[in-house]
């Protein structure tokens, strides 16, 4: 049904992918060091490292685990989540941030029970300027009060300021790195940039496990 080239893939139930995301969900529950992580930014150094795929799957499996989850498409340039859920024509984040009264009405239900999407909305002239408004933090907080988990997808940290702005407004950040294509120095620079704005970087998610990465996954199951 889709003509889109960069389609996001949701892991099938009982697949190894599903196992991985459920393990990630569990690890995240303990990553906040006692503080529950209610608002989570999914960041990555560069384009195409799998941020949106991780955001989508984490949102899906968190909702499947019984939580009410809101996915925010904070990447107002690529709109990967917005396109995945076919809601590019709906008002979304950009309109919620520019409108006078804040409202959670732009939330759209998805086929996954308890999972909601806040599309990116009409593309603003400067997404960084828009996100820098105090409304962004207020919107994320109001959603965190009404839902169990708010997951924010973001554009590449090294490309634009958006992710660094969002990093200051969430409880925790995970940095996605592609085992095949991400460069080590890019990952390090991205982490450094997020730490520089005092973002609470909880940890890394390695995408596309092959070879040594796959072995690491088995050992990390441990005991």
């Amino acid at each position: 049904m889709s003509k889109k080239t960069n389609r996001l893939i949701l892991a099938a139930p009982n697949s190894s992918g599903a196992e991985s995301y459920m393990a990630l969900r569990t690890n995240l529950a303990f990553a906040g060091k006692g503080e529950p992580v209610k608002t989570l930014l999914i960041a990555g150094a560069t384009e195409g490292c799998g941020k949106s795929t991780v955001a989508l799957n984490l949102g899906h499996f968190a909702a499947a685990g019984g939580k009410s989850v809101v996915l925010i498409d904070g990447d107002m340039r690529k709109l990967a989540l917005t396109r995945h859920f076919d809601c590019a024509k709906y008002p979304g984040l950009s309109m919620a941030l520019t409108s006078q009264g804040l409202s959670t009405s732009p939330l759209r239900p998805t086929t996954t029970p308890r999972l909601w999407i806040l599309p990116s909305g009409p593309i603003p002239p400067s997404s960084a300027n828009l996100l820098a408004s105090p409304n962004t933090g207020r919107l994320i907080q109001s959603l965190a009060e009404a839902y169990d988990l708010v997951i924010v997808d973001s554009p590449p940290v090294l490309a634009v300021a958006d992710a660094s702005i969002l990093a200051t407004l969430v409880d925790g950040i995970i940095v996605v790195a592609d085992a095949k294509h991400s460069k080590r120095r890019d990952v390090r620079r991205a982490v450094d940039m997020l730490l520089k704005v005092h973002g609470n970087v909880l940890g890394l998610v390695v995408n596309q496990a092959t070879g040594s990465a796959a072995r690491f996954q088995y050992t990390s199951y441990g005991i």
């Binding site: 697949s15 890394l204 995408n207 092959t210 990390s220």
Partner: protein, 125 residues
């Protein structure tokens, strides 16, 4: 096979190199004999110059060139060095994530999850 005049003396040094010591000595001596015979012949009947062999070639005890062991060791060192340099260059240029544990050490952050690349048969819309 080569020949050279020794400094300013009226001495000609004939040198031969090869893999077989006895054969090499024979070649050098034969060349000297042939040269002497040629000079004798061309200056026959005159009071011309004559050649004398003052120091015949003897098969050397050890090879004059580098030993096989030295060649092997040099090649080994050169090979290892070249390989290491190449690996370093590739590592610098590529800079990919070889090992998630390395990423953990580099950033000081834990790996919260490793998610596989999902094949199309796992697609669900």
């Amino acid at each position: 096979l080569s020949a050279a005049q020794l400094k300013d003396l009226d001495l000609l040094q004939i040198m031969a190199a090869g893999t077989d010591a006895t054969r090499v000595a024979l070649i050098a001596n034969t060349a000297a004999d042939e040269l002497r015979a040629f000079v004798d012949e061309s200056s026959a009947g005159t009071q011309g110059e004559r050649l004398l062999v003052v120091d015949p070639a003897v098969p050397p005890d050890a090879p004059s060139g580098p030993s096989a062991l030295l060649v092997v060791i040099s090649a080994l060192i050169a090979g290892l060095t070249l390989g290491s340099v190449l690996a370093l260059i590739i590592d610098l240029v590529e800079d990919r994530i070889a090992d998630p544990e390395e990423l953990e050490a580099m950033t000081g952050l834990p790996i919260l999850g490793i998610v596989p690349a999902m094949a199309s048969d796992e697609v669900r819309r």
